[in-house]
């Protein structure tokens, strides 16, 4: 029986954001924008979805009079990512086993 993939993470941009944040303490909005190659609007929408789900924390502040958005992964987000990777590896494992049986 396959574990279902978390629909919040099974989306290209949201998974990219979480994968970037999992390895760091914090990342600025512009950094996420550059690394994911997304548009500002889309990135904002996906960050809000992840925040509403409790997967990330978003801190708004200012630097040199410009607004600065910094994102952090939460423990809930890290756990969700871990479960997602486990579920995903289940699919690949099942795929390779069925390949071997052929």
């Amino acid at each position: 029986m396959f574990e279902p993939l978390d629909p919040i993470l099974h989306s290209q941009l949201r998974l990219a954001i979480i994968s970037l944040l999992i390895g760091v303490e914090s990342a600025e909005f512009i950094y996420l924008l550059e690394q994911t190659g997304s548009t500002k609007g889309n990135l904002s929408i996906q960050l809000t979805k992840l925040k509403d789900e409790g997967y990330i924390d978003v801190k708004k502040s200012f630097r040199n009079n410009y607004p600065l958005t910094t994102c952090f992964i939460t423990s809930k987000g890290a756990e969700a990512f871990d479960n997602y990777v486990k579920a995903l590896s289940g699919y690949f494992k099942a795929g390779s086993e069925s390949g071997e049986n052929k």
């Binding site: 099974h10 290209q12 994968s19 970037l20 760091v24």
Partner: protein, 195 residues
């Protein structure tokens, strides 16, 4: 961008984003060259001032090198103010590690000022502490040249114990060169993950 994507694409996405995070660990090579280079020069200058000019103020070279390193460091960080930043856990631990190192060095200086340590004991203790910080830094960065640097520093600390004060100064310079400056140059110019 809510389009469906396959499990294979999902796996590739995770791998590519995680490798971007890893690259951030490897951008600090310049700072190793800056600090290592200045302190290497400071150690050699101290030797020259002590042996050739016989000045008692030979230790001032360290103060000058430290001040220069801090000024240049802040100047470069200031110039990169608008570069989007990402903060890694390693950045934070490294900050605390090297701050603890500087505080420990100041404590050794305090002991020396109280005549609780003889001058000949100072350099081996500093090199030992320096090896401690370098070894941990290398381990966190998974950078084998810096881990080896820490071990070299400990060996140098033992050798240093049996040398004269002047020779110790040269050994300090050699330690910085082998265990910090050269690994920094390798880190700066390497692109691979497994250096």
């Amino acid at each position: 961008m809510e389009k469906e994507f396959t499990n294979q694409q999902s796996l590739e996405m995770i791998q590519s984003m995680i490798s971007i995070s890893r690259q951030n660990f490897r951008k600090g090579g310049f700072y190793y060259i800056l600090w290592g280079g200045l302190f290497f020069i400071a150690a050699l200058a101290q030797y020259v001032i002590f042996t050739v000019f016989k000045s008692e103020l030979h230790w001032l070279t360290w103060l000058v090198a430290g001040a220069l390193a801090v000024i240049i460091n802040f100047f470069i960080m200031g110039k990169r103010k608008n570069v989007p930043r990402v903060k890694t856990y390693i950045d934070r631990v490294n900050f605390y590690l090297w701050t603890a190192f500087v505080i420990s060095i100041l404590f050794i200086g305090f002991l020396a000022s109280q005549q609780a340590l003889s001058p000949i004991q100072i350099n081996p203790l500093i090199i030992m502490l320096y090896g401690f910080a370098t070894f941990i830094s290398g381990g966190m960065l998974r950078f084998k040249w810096l881990i080896a640097g820490g071990i070299i520093a400990w060996i140098m600390a033992i050798i240093c114990t049996f040398q004269s004060y002047e020779t110790q100064m040269l050994l300090v310079a050699a330690t910085i060169l082998l265990s910090y400056l050269i690994p920094g140059i390798i880190l700066n110019f390497s692109k691979g993950n497994n250096v």
